[in-house]
């Protein structure tokens, strides 16, 4: 299988290069996808179907990091808002200690990860949270003392939706759709919510 793929890839290189090379034009999305596909092999849980783009991924694949038209942006935002599944029992908060473990765990869905283990949230890759963790990223905003911003029903719902599908607030957001894409399950999101809101969570420690 691997061998066939490599041979095909070698052939594809020449064919595609001549197809778009002389034109001097920006390659279209279909060609770009074909190049990704021909350069990859499915490995463990990461199949080639992962190269299929959602409408949102397609609309946000550009240097401007934005959607071309206001109409499309509004459609995508609405679809994301509609995708959010709130907890049926109205319970937004779980166990902050389990939430901390999820926030610290960067594993999940890579072809090198064990698919039988629960995915992590990898929140620390991008966000500051507990003052005790110095190894935090700065790609996203700091979430230190997040719970001090208030614990109203509206705040809980906002945060839940933000974790479930952040595209409902900012289309082309860089944050994964943790609920919508099935990265974290409902209970895991409750636990991460508790990590953000619980007064005893280190996130809210002075």
């Amino acid at each position: 299988m691997l061998k066939t793929k490599i041979l095909l890839a070698a052939v594809a290189v020449t064919a595609l290069a001549s197809a778009y090379g002389e034109s001097g034009l920006k390659p279209d999305a279909k060609t770009v996808k074909a190049v990704w596909r021909d350069s990859m092999v499915a490995k463990n849980q990461a199949g080639l179907d992962r190269l299929n783009q959602t409408a949102l991924e397609k609309a946000c694949s550009n240097a401007s990091d934005n959607v071309a038209s206001d109409t499309e942006r509004e459609q995508l935002r609405q679809a994301a808002t509609n995708s959010v599944v709130y907890p049926a029992d109205g319970k937004f908060l779980g166990d902050w200690q389990r939430g901390e473990a999820i926030a610290s765990n960067g594993k999940g869905m890579q072809w090198s990860d064990d698919p039988n283990k629960p995915n992590g949230g990898n929140c620390y890759a991008c966000h500051q949270m507990s003052p005790g963790e110095v190894a935090y990223g700065t790609v996203g905003p700091s979430l230190r003392n997040y719970g001090m911003r208030g614990r109203s029903e509206a705040m809980l719902k906002y945060t839940w939706a933000k974790i479930w599908n952040p595209q409902g607030y900012r289309v082309c957001s860089h944050m994964p759709r943790f609920g919508d894409a099935g990265i974290l399950d409902e209970q895991q999101i409750r636990d991460v919510m508790a990590y953000l809101f619980d007064p005893n969570s280190p996130v809210n420690r002075k």
Binding site: S104, N105, G106, K107, G108, Q110, D113, N122, Y124, A125, V134, A135
Partner: protein, 148 residues
Amino acid sequence: MNRNRRGFLKLAGAAAALSMLPLKVLADFVRPKEAMAATDLKGVFASLGNAQDSDQIRLETPDIAENGAVVPVTVSSAIPGTSKIYLLVEDNPNPLAAAYMIPEGTEAFVQTRVKVAQTCPIYAVVEAGGKLYKTSRETKVTLGGCGG
């Protein structure tokens, strides 16, 4: 294609090349030898003997190390007659990582890199005039990269 575990030259083959040096180069100067095998700090000090705190030992380690696999450590001692320097990593499976014998004519200074299993104090223990002195410093071991 992968040259996993490249073979190192076996002792017999190396003998000719090393004729200038004794093969079993060291007397077991760590006394008692159990210190090397001790599984906690208490065990190491039980073997080496007790050490008193000293501000005459300079121990440099980074405050934060990007991972625990390679932590640079520098030790120098201003204690006259320093003859040995030991490096201990408190939470490692065997805390005593390295022991150095410093002969007359060599500065009481060593620099090396050690594995640190998790955030914990690193100790430098110095032997001078038959007595042991120590100092320690904590190095925070954190994740680098994408956290996966």
